[in-house]
Symmetry: C2
Subunit: 590 residues, 2 copies
């Protein structure tokens, strides 16, 4: 027998009992001929004691132990003297007097200590991922991940959603991101694709009468990786028939409330806040705003246009905007140089040509552009921005998108810099009615903002050919603390409307047939109205575990160059393997 | 609102209530100006009635309905007259008098009826999988699958197993089946492989201190497909540290008992029956015996060698076996021709050169070989085979493997033919201590019977280099009704023993390092003793849902040529996609 108790679960109620434990040597100290070891297993840490007067044989073995040696030990749980109590660990009121020990496996000295907040580079951590995962914060993250997915599954099961697995070896439908391809051995020259999402299959399941589907699904995108992307990622994917958006959103809210309660012990109030996409851009300059603090964007275009500052007037005439944020009470904290250099550096990557500013004082405003506003205009600005003496007003005047992006970024920057964000808050937010389509300068055509199966807002339908960019979608995003957790929508379930959508997206009839013919065929057999959404599990884990990288939420993640440093994947394969797949590697031939 | 009740859940307690339902037209009948429709949703079927005296408008719409039209209807639940009760359906005591109907979607006439036991070819069913899945038996199979996986997850969660996701884009380690490969765009000439199982990662998770891991994992093998194989399949994959085989097997038994109770409502007695591999081959001629009936193989080598039949003596001298099965009481059912032709055709594919037989009569035996046995030998045969008048004894004399394979197959054939199998029984069986290695004539080396990480039986360890074929493994298979559900083993956790295993398997040090170096490195950092197993979900669903094909257990399966007939995968991709992946397709170049 290796164990009959877990290290981290021993308490004073065990005092006097004999226990057998198994785990790893976390730390060893010798004090006056007695050896003290912190023994660690998945449940936590307990102090075990080797006293030669209890067992010379066990002491002799313990004397040879080093960090990360794996052992099983037997001994008696005893209460510690009051002065020896360690309040830092849960088991700090007891220790275990060992009389038997078996060494299960030795360990080389680990390249980094098995503890939180280490200084090792991420490459070293990924190379030795099996040691990295022994660190408490990594183990805790995997436990949180497990709890989140289990809670989601229980909730969806209770709500009659069926867990249905969809294929990983599927068809390439290059609309969206780049596919990972898998060459077929049986069909020379043909390829499977790994799914970017189960979108087509879940709609087919609605055509199949499954009515309520979910899956915690692996998805794949061969994109250039940023810090918050992985080549393979996991989403909880849901779809339902006889879909009503309000009922569906209510259910999603209940599900997330359950997750927050189970995982964080926090009661999140319902209903969640809702903003349309237009409102979100207007107020926050972002479609995934962090609503844990205010400092919303204020439209001052009309007032600014009345000023004598030419550039403001011109922006208005060209259909642009002049907007500002009010950084309350911090005017004195920012020198002219800090605003002109540091804050301007925040907005310039978004195309803002300048960052105008005003400091509000008793009876007026001060700053380089103050002179362009007469007393009446000054009063109007102060009123509209709710400004008080000591406030700093920051202006961007430009095209709508530039104003939104740059002030949105500045708002976030200041929110963090000024400590305005309550880090313990979880602000869930629906952002709805995204544009259905956006024009791709690269492809010279409209592309689907969400995907080609999203239902347009019916009252916008007459503009779908005349003014596609203005058509809103019956779509909704779930946003948490400035991160998009996932997207959903009502889907098109009408064969003719779907055909029209493909046309608007510039698909020839042949291409639509070749890529999506099976879905179009399914739409001819009584497909129910349906809709759904997907939420990113990795992202949810990251936010709930308080991690800063998606890589920390995944047991065996890939680097920014899509490599697994531990197993050394991808790697070369034999020419025989390639020949069987009818492949030459061009670079080998060259 | 589309619905506030489900078709299949309406009972007499709903009588007098107004309900709104949504679903599909299963069947329509017109009787005396009244339209009766069987409306189907995921929950079942209910009869809805359109009477022009209730609503002419609804009747007019109903008059246009055809099979598989999707509708939502509102009406009052009423009890049926006693003579109109339909006992075939759960809702047969009521019907719903409709006064409102909305057509949600039309349907073309389906290529096959939406009902069980259809005659459509499987190709047609797979082409229209979205219609095939509407059939009750297919829907029921997906529901059973969902229930099985949910029960497994709950059980493993209760037992502190952590659900950890392992990568799908991983490293090619061509030991075992053929890998599916994924070309890397970022690393020209390099490839990921799809995992044949998470074996390496779950062992790394044990090195990571996860202690108890599970995953319902997708696995991939690019093999030539038989009826019971799919290129991608799903297993419940488990691994635990501080592994003790008895405790682990007990837990697996409890888990399967829970599944049987939840899914089939059946109490399976524990502990499950156990056989060693050697016993199983000896008794059943198979390592996955169907133990729902007897007719075990009986060794008669010693008696046969005493007979005057030369071939029996020769077989014994060459180290072969003479074994028989006793088909009780059926001697009269089989003519000489039937035995010599029909039954012999069962054994000959397995290499048996003949099938000898004897019919037992009062006071003796009859048949072509009876004359080679004197009275004393006859008596010994009758005693050892427990034979009675009317029994048919069937003999195969050959090498051990041929005897086992051919008599094992004959036993199964007769079991089915003679109706000896209780189709309602679920006989779980452990088969343990498989050979660690088997010699591959093809590769001229020993290969791992299970995988290279399986722990040998310690007392056999000294023969690992001198007589590798005789070394037994600390392995175990779970068998149900003649099907292998999955395999497990204690793993090697000792660095040096693992190195020795690679050597026995003919790996050079370089190859072992290149393919499994990361695991060997992990073994240097205090890896705990560990073990685990994996059970095939598709197979379990097949047996519990009473299906005859694995394809019926998977929503979107592939054909024997690994094609998805619905989406037409695999398919050609653009040359631009190939160029990005640094690939030429050899067959295009030719």
């Amino acid at each position: 027998m290796y164990r009959n108790a877990n290290c981290g679960e021993l308490t004073e109620t065990f005092a006097g009992k004999k226990v057998t434990l198994a785990g790893w040597v976390q730390k060893r100290r010798d004090l006056g001929g007695v050896i003290f070891i912190d023994l660690r297993d998945r449940s936590g840490i307990v102090q075990i004691v080797f006293n030669p007067q209890v067992s010379q044989e066990a002491w002799n073995k313990a004397d040879k132990l080093r960090s990360e040696y794996c052992v099983t030990v037997t001994g008696e749980v005893v209460k510690r003297d009051p002065e020896a109590v360690n309040e830092k660990i849960k088991t700090g009121t007891i220790e275990v007097m060992i009389n038997e020990i078996t060494l299960l496996n030795k360990s080389k000295t680990p390249p980094f200590p098995i503890e939180d907040d280490i200084e090792a580079s991420e490459d070293i951590r990924l190379n030795y991922r099996y040691l990295d995962l022994r660190r408490p914060e990594m183990l805790e993250t995997l436990k949180i991940r497990n709890k989140i997915t289990h809670t989601l599954r229980d909730f969806l099961d209770e709500n009659d959603f069926l867990d249905v697995e969809t294929p990983i070896l599927t068809k390439s439908t290059p609309e969206g991101a780049r596919d990972y391809l898998v060459p077929s051995r049986v069909h020379p020259g043909e390829f499977y694709a790994l799914p970017q999402s189960p979108q087509l299959f879940k709609q087919l399941l609605m055509a199949s009468g499954i009515e309520k589907y979910y899956q915690i699904a692996r998805c794949f995108r061969d994109e250039d990786l940023r810090a918050d992307r992985q080549p393979e990622f996991t989403q909880v994917d849901m779809e339902m028939s006889f879909f009503e958006v309000d009922k569906f959103q209510n259910m999603i809210e209940e599900m997330l409330v359950r997750v927050m309660k189970e995982v964080k012990g926090i009661d999140i109030p319902r209903p969640f806040k809702r903003l349309t996409y237009a409102e979100s851009i207007d107020l926050y300059g972002s479609d995934k705003p962090d609503t844990r603090f205010g400092m919303t964007l204020i439209d001052l275009t009309d007032i600014a246009a009345d000023s004598t500052l030419k550039v403001f007037k011109e922006v208005q005439e060209k259909g642009g905007l002049v907007k500002a944020i009010n950084a309350k009470g911090v005017a004195a904290q920012f020198s002219r140089k800090q605003v002109d250099e540091d804050l301007r550096a925040v907005v310039s990557p978004y195309g803002a040509k300048g960052l105008a500013w005003l400091k509000v004082e008793e009876g007026g405003m001060k700053g380089p552009i103050a002179k362009f506003f007469d007393e009446a205009l000054t009063a109007r600005i102060i009123e509209r921005t709710n400004a008080e003496p000591g406030d700093l007003l920051l202006f961007v005047a430009d095209k709508k998108k530039i104003v939104a992006d740059s002030l949105g970024a500045l708002r976030l920057h200041l929110g963090k810099l000024l400590g305005l964000i309550d880090e313990s808050a979880y602000n869930f937010l629906w952002v709805t009615h995204f544009p259905l389509l956006s024009y791709s300068e690269e492809e010279h055509r409209y592309v689907a903002e969400h995907h080609p199966f999203t239902m347009p807002v019916l009252e916008d339908l007459d503009k779908i050919e005349s003014d596609p960019g203005s058509v809103r979608a019956q779509s909704f995003d779930m946003v948490l603390n400035g991160y998009e957790l996932g997207s959903g929508s009502q889907r098109i379930s009408d064969h003719d409307l779907q055909e029209k959508m493909f046309k608007v997206l510039g698909f020839t009839k042949e291409r639509a047939e070749k890529q999506f013919g099976f879905l179009m065929s399914a739409f001819e057999y009584g497909v129910p109205p349906h809709g759904g959404m997907a939420l990113g599990i990795d992202r949810i884990v990251m936010l709930l575990a308080g991690r800063s990288s998606l890589r920390d939420t995944i047991a065996f993640p890939k680097t920014a160059s899509a490599s697994d440093l531990l197993t050394k994947a991808p790697s070369e394969v034999s020419l025989a393997q390639l020949a069987e797949l009818h492949l030459d590697v061009a670079t080998i031939l060259k």
